[in-house]
């Protein structure tokens, strides 16, 4: 599992919220290194007015968190493709001490270094760092993800069952 087609096959997110471009390294069950290239044509820049300043092009922190979370999901899923009929999705359910030391702009390449610290039942605990080249952007003490069933309900549409 390395290229974008492999990433798409494993993760359920799609444009504009599929935020991992490529896997650089994967040590099964232990660590992963991924990249997400930030470009001026990313959807988050689409509505910027003419004359916007460079600081207005700071890549949103929320999307940096999502990109890190998807990287953690790729590590946990370890290349496993979705099973037909499986009604569970991997959900980002929490984090502690996700600290930002800088930001990214178009032209930067985010590199996520993620470790799995533990897996308890269907819940995984990960940590790591985010870099742009040799500049550290963020440290993550704990990110928590779990698998939860999604099922259609009557009559209000699909719901997520509580953890």
């Amino acid at each position: 599992m390395r290229e974008h087609a492999d990433v798409r096959a494993v993760l359920p997110q799609r444009f504009p919220l599929l935020l991992v471009d490529r896997v650089l390294e994967l040590e099964s069950g232990r660590r992963i290194s991924t990249i997400k290239a930030v470009t001026g044509t990313d959807a988050c820049f689409a509505d910027l007015p003419e004359g916007a300043q460079n600081q207005d092009y700071s890549y949103p922190y929320s999307l940096i968190v999502e990109s890190f979370g998807q990287s953690a999901a790729l590590l946990w899923l370890d290349g496993r493709l979705p099973t037909p009929g499986d009604d569970q999705v991997l959900m980002f359910v929490g984090a502690t001490d996700f600290s930002f030391e800088g930001t990214a702009h178009p032209g930067d390449v985010l590199r996520h270094e993620v470790r799995i610290d533990s897996v308890i039942a269907d819940t995984a605990f990960a940590s790591g760092e985010i870099w742009v080249a040799d500049r550290r952007l963020a440290t993550v003490a704990t990110l928590v993800a779990t698998r939860r069933p999604v099922r259609p309900s009557e009559p209000g549409g699909p719901v997520l069952e509580p953890a």
């Binding site: 929320s62 999307l63 968190v65 959900m91 980002f92 359910v93 996700f98």
Partner: protein, 150 residues
């Protein structure tokens, strides 16, 4: 669902003006509470938003990270968008996503903001759905000033 702006609420422009995945606050209000500020922001969950079409195809769920985005935008609405003083997220001390927000729902984010020693702000936010269910809790620290590349 999007409410019309009610008395005491400030309706936000249609576009954010800085890089953002979406307009994550549609209206907001704030009031002082001693040394703290009580900040409330609302945003509807619109299943036809391109983000929700990608999260997930066939099942629109408001991504948890958009609650973080709502908090960041609410802080900027309350304390200013000018780059020199705009609140900049420094640390998500604790984030918990407790219940999903689906198409047609609305997030109400209630934030208690206190000045931090040495500058900036600490924010404690609770996000609820239209049915009153708590969807998310966030504790976060913000600095005042432009995002650093350091």
């Amino acid at each position: 669902m999007t409410r019309t702006a009610e008395a005491g609420w400030v309706r936000t422009p249609d576009t954010v003006g800085v890089a953002a995945p979406l307009r994550a606050v549609e209206q907001w209000q704030c009031e002082p509470d001693g040394d703290a500020m009580l900040l409330t922001a609302r945003v509807g969950v619109h299943g036809d938003d391109p983000n929700l079409r990608g999260h997930f195809p066939g099942l629109a769920i408001f991504p948890g990270i958009f609650v973080i985005e709502s908090l960041c935008q609410a802080m900027a609405h309350a304390f200013g968008w000018e780059a020199a003083g705009r609140p900049v997220l420094r640390t998500l001390r604790s984030v918990r996503f407790l219940a999903p927000l689906l198409d047609g729902d609305e997030l109400t984010l209630r934030v208690t903001v206190t000045p931090a020693a040495g500058g900036g702000w600490s924010a404690k936010a609770v996000g609820t759905r239209l049915d009153g269910t708590v969807a998310a809790r966030i504790r976060a620290d913000f600095a005042a000033g432009r995002a650093s590349d350091a």
